[in-house]
Amino acid sequence: MSNATIADKRPSTLRGARLPKWSPYAIAAGSVAVAIGIGLAAGLDSRVQWGLIAGLLYVFGSYAIAARVEGRRQAKDRVATSLVWVAFLLAVVPLVSLVWTTIARGVKVLDVYFLTHSMGVVADSQPGGGIYHAILGSLEQVGLATLIAAPIGVLTAIYLVEYGRGGLARSVTFFVDVMTGIPSIVAGLFILSLMLMFDMQPFGFAGSLALAILMVPVVVRSTEEMLKLVPNELREASLALGVPKWRTILKVVLPTSIGGITTGIMLAIARIAGETAPVLLLVFGSKFINANPFEGAQASLPLYIYQQYGSGETPAYDRAWAASLTLIAFVMILNMVARGIARWKAPKTGR
């Protein structure tokens, strides 16, 4: 390397032979080229394979070259670097593809008509129809679930943080953790077993109950975290003024943490809005507009996607994608707004 001439006679311990800065790019370009070559020569039609071959070539190539020039330790470092990059790019491909496909195929039939009409008189094989009934069902089911889960979750968190000591609090904490891990279909089966007891037919509110079971632990967890962030001085200051504890909690503790609690609830809503399994068991799905969540089968957005996909007809696929785009947009907006609130309300001392 050119540096060798600058250094004086003594062998330097500070400079090792280094590959030039552009070498990773060169190796990457080389591997991609060779991979394309191999792909064409062997007639591999799947781009996934081309990518895998290029990735492997890159990792081994950079190790071999670096080991020759820079030594084993540097070579290992470079392999780690390239593996990490390859892993990242490998993971980006499906995730980007997911988002891209949903948008590209979703916009095809997504318009105002689609959002404001139901599937009432449309056969799966026909184009047309919409998701109005599904949006309505989703909003009602998720809304009712939130009305149940949010107060229970917040109150439980208040109990755990402000009052809870001893055995009861410990077991509540434990079972909140257990509830976090319940698969959504099991929550659905639980409500189903109740419905079987009382010989009931599917209706929207049953789905809400299952969704609420899934939502409560999420709300408890996030609210707990937020309440723990409220400094004790605030509580003490209020108690020292002779304010009763419950008013201290309502007027001092909750207002201080309301931003974070809202964020937690919104994230929980975003999570349950995409749940399909319990809705499938309990609400059953319907092609018609049913505004009454307490009687009769209802549609729901995620379930609509599943059923449209299941029908196996091309126009139905288009509708499934458009509904997916709607659902993703709803979930993402909720997420972004929630995170926005969290950032906006975050204590300035935070990281």
Binding site: M1, N3, I6, A7, D8, S12, T13, L14, R15, G16, R18, R72, R73
Partner: protein, 258 residues
């Protein structure tokens, strides 16, 4: 094997903020040089430029030259990893690897550089722990986690870890500020012994400590908060503490200044 450090025109930045400006000094081999000065004057930053640790923090960059026996640490083709092997560092808070045993902590640096035989490793570990005056306290529990030691012992463990790889220079960033007086004394004694073998640079807030351990002392100051720190003067420790040539130094040492 100890090496001389020659710094000329060194300026260091955090992003667009200039932390220290235009520092030049020479550190003699086998001596202890202390950096003193008020908080925020950039003495720790300067210390970290001497083994290229400054650039690890986000936005950290450096202009100027640091010669280690005539070789510029910031020259082209220099590998920062090799620099840090030559210029070891001990930090403000003792930081033994929490998941490693005492033995593994000391051996950590050696293991990086290829395979040693078990017996070789044992020799070096024993030698380093003896060098750090820690051997007698830990020889029966080398396989216990390093985090179980007291603060002062942990710091000496970190010194043992640093000297195990036989660096040429040892940088110490307020090594005693988290320790009690007795542990501090043990470390100061140790510094006196280590200077026989290494070039030592120590940052300290404690002026008595600087007076006790160092041969030369450098005083850093900054004009105002937000301004870059500058080297005010460097001289024999005795002179700095008895008859400094700059008024600001005297003010600081006699306590007439922040």
């Amino acid at each position: 094997m100890a090496k001389r450090i020659d710094v000329s025109g060194l300026t260091a930045y955090y992003g667009s903020h200039k932390a220290i400006e235009d520092i030049s000094m020479t550190v003699e081999p086998r001596s202890v040089t202390a950096f003193i000065g008020p908080s925020g004057c950039g003495k720790s930053t300067f210390l970290r430029t001497l083994n290229r640790m400054h650039e690890v923090t986000s936005g950290g960059r450096v202009e100027g030259k640091v010669l280690l026996d005539d070789e510029d640490l910031y020259g082209p083709g220099i590998d920062p990893v090799s620099v840090r092997r030559e210029v070891g560092m001990v930090f403000q808070r003792p930081n033994p690897f929490p998941t490693m045993s005492i033995f593994d902590n000391v051996a950590a640096g050696l293991r990086l550089n290829g395979s040693y035989k078990k017996s070789e490793l044992q020799d070096v570990v024993e030698k380093s722990l003896k060098g750090a005056n820690l051997w007698n306290e830990v020889k029966d529990r080398l396989n216990k986690p390093g985090s179980g030691l007291s603060g002062g012992q942990q710091q000496r463990l970190c010194i043992a870890r640093a000297i195990a790889v036989e660096p040429k220079v040892l940088l110490m960033d307020e090594p005693c500020s988290a320790l009690d007086p007795i542990s501090t004394l043990a470390i100061e004694d140790l510094i006196g012994e280590l200077k026989e073998r290494f070039t030592i640079v120590i940052v300290t807030h404690n002026m008595q400590q600087a007076a006790r351990v160092s041969d030369r002392t450098a005083f850093f100051n900054l004009a105002a908060v937000g301004q870059p720190g500058k080297l005010i003067e460097i001289d024999d420790t005795e002179r700095i503490f008895s008859n400094p040539s700059v008024q600001a130094t005297e003010d600081y040492i006699s306590g007439r200044f922040g």
